[in-house]
């Protein structure tokens, strides 16, 4: 059994709703990062893309399970912190 690498467990990916609303100005004005339509999408700091958590790339770096990113590791892209 091998782990399937995906954005959801990559250190470059962030899908924290509060941070997303800071990173995407206006998202909280007539929308929300807390809505069901967003699913688990987030921002990849490496590619600067807004991606599904199930996506993957060659630059994947495992950091931990989806939604369990250790806060003390520091944020991959400080502008969202």
């Amino acid at each position: 059994m091998s782990a399937r690498a995906c954005c959801g467990n990559c250190r470059h990916f962030s899908n924290d709703p509060v941070q997303l609303e800071c990173a995407l100005p206006g998202l909280g004005a007539l929308g929300s990062a807390h809505g069901a339509v967003r699913d688990q999408d987030g921002i990849c700091g490496k590619h600067e893309r807004y991606l599904r958590a199930s996506s993957v790339c060659a630059g994947h770096e495992f950091t931990g399970p989806l939604g369990r990113r250790p806060r003390d590791e520091g944020h991959p892209f400080p502008q969202l912190s």
Partner: protein, 464 residues
């Protein structure tokens, strides 16, 4: 060791999938909306009513009258604040906001909403065009774009949370039979407009040299459900971060413009409230913005000469068109676009599989709450004649829920203005602006023709 890590990942992913819903605004909107409806029904069954708690300002002519109202009902207003603070505070806490920060901010929002609600009940309000949704929006925009909305107030400005709660409560005043009757027409009308709008924005955008992912994100934002549509499509196709920002900016810019323009245009044309609501539902981009426009237009019924239909018809037609006709299809749009992006468009270095499961995962679940609310009230009112419904159920159950809905929408309208910073919306660039604007033009014209010509009789009868 590797196996342990794998298990941890897979277990956590499964937990995340199960636990994701309670951390969404949709879940809390359903819980709060249906909870309040069940409370109203339970009180009614016990011989009581939610009426005392669901307090709202009444019509007034002179300031002392208004002040007397506030003084006489001060305890009720305080009790209502406690109720909202409890339920919305619980939701905000579950979404990750600190209750200690939410409550003071919400207290201010509640007081401002009370002032707006009171203003709307002034008998000269319509004469001076002081429609509460527009006033809320204008005041909010003024504060946000001049002195700036204080940072400490931000946790309570949850536009989508409030509008979804209000829409669930709205279900209580729409019989399920009406939704079943109007739903297919709303779906057909919305499908025509959505496809044409998306096609226009996408093809104009590509023609102007925009990246396909940006064109698709813009198109879905304009055609389906505004900011929610833009982020769903952006994630599905793997758009660049700045492309999603551009789409959000343009959606908000045009949504704010149409909040003011659509009701004024419909008023000039003296459209019946149901027809105007359907037009707004077809041509507005965001739920919250559209409800502001629809509620504004509903307020003209009875106060502006030549406008027929009930105030409720504008909001009802809007909601049917927007929620049933457009919002529920976002998962399908995202799925189709993710397939096309993965198989037809240039590679980005990121692989993304377009799974059909996202149709459900992205489904705007609050619409289910709206339908459930309708089903509950349809069931409760079964066996009552229309006269009995009007005499017994309306004042004891449906009326108080309508009052709570207006409160939720007032929180929404204030939050829109206070969270919209126009400076942030002006950096989209000219080509995305032209592409999106072409779609706006098609959307408004086709929406108008379908609402006022093709399905005019249908939407007019909704307001009878």
């Amino acid at each position: 060791m590797s196996e342990l890590i794998d298990r941890a990942i897979n277990t956590s992913k499964a937990e995340t999938a199960r636990a994701a819903l309670p951390r969404t605004e949709d879940f809390w909107a359903i819980l709060i909306g249906l909870g309040l409806i069940l409370l109203a029904v339970a009180l009614f069954a016990g011989g009581s009513s939610l009426k005392w708690l669901a307090v709202a300002p009444q019509k007034w002519s002179h300031a002392p009258e208004a002040l007397r109202q506030l003084r006489d009902h001060a305890t009720q207003y305080l009790a209502l604040w406690v109720l909202w603070a409890l339920v919305l505070g619980a939701g905000a806490a579950a979404l990750g906001y600190r209750l200690g920060r939410f409550l003071p901010a919400f207290a201010l929002l509640y007081l401002a909403s009370l002032a707006l609600y009171l203003l709307g009940q002034w008998d000269q309000a319509a004469h001076y065009n002081l429609e509460p949704p527009l006033v809320a929006l204008a005041i909010g925009l003024l504060i946000s774009n001049t002195v700036g909305t204080p940072q400490w107030a931000q946790p309570a400005l949850r536009v989508e949370f409030y509008v979804k709660t209000g829409i669930v409560l709205l279900g209580a005043s729409l019989p399920l039979t009406l939704i079943a009757w109007a739903g297919p027409v709303a779906i057909v009308q919305a499908a025509i407009v959505s496809l044409l709008t998306f096609g226009t924005i996408y093809f104009v955008g590509v023609r102007l040299g925009l990246d396909r992912r940006l064109a698709a994100t813009l198109g879905t934002g304009g055609a389906v459900c505004g900011v929610s549509g833009a982020i769903a499509a952006g994630g599905a196709v793997g758009a660049k971060k700045e492309q999603v920002s551009i789409a959000i900016s343009l959606v908000i810019l045009w949504a704010i413009v149409t909040i003011f323009v659509l009701p004024l245009a419909a008023r000039a044309l003296q459209l019946p409230t149901g027809v105007a609501g359907a037009w707004i539902g077809t041509s507005e981009f965001a739920d919250a913005a559209g409800l502001a426009a629809a509620q504004t237009y509903g307020g003209y019924a009875g106060s502006v000469a030549g406008i027929t239909g009930t105030p409720e018809a504008a909001v009802n037609a809007f909601t049917l068109m927007k929620a049933i006709g457009r919002d529920v299809w976002i998962g399908v749009w995202a799925f189709v676009l993710s397939l096309i992006a993965a198989t037809r468009w240039e590679a980005t270095g990121v692989q993304s599989r377009g799974k059909a499961a996202q149709i459900w995962r992205r489904f705007p679940k609050f619409v289910l709450g709206f339908l459930l609310a309708s089903a509950i009230l349809t069931l409760i009112s079964h066996g009552y004649s229309y006269a009995e419904y009007k005499k017994i159920l309306q004042p004891a159950v449906v009326g108080p829920l309508q009052v709570l809905r207006v409160w939720a929408f007032t929180f929404t309208f204030l939050s829109i203005g206070l969270t919209t910073r126009l400076r942030e919306l002006l950096s989209a660039g000219s080509r995305p602006f032209y592409a999106f604007t072409a779609g706006v033009a098609v959307n408004i014209v086709v929406g108008f023709v379908l609402s006022t010509q093709v399905f005019s009789g249908f939407w007019t009868s909704l307001g009878q």
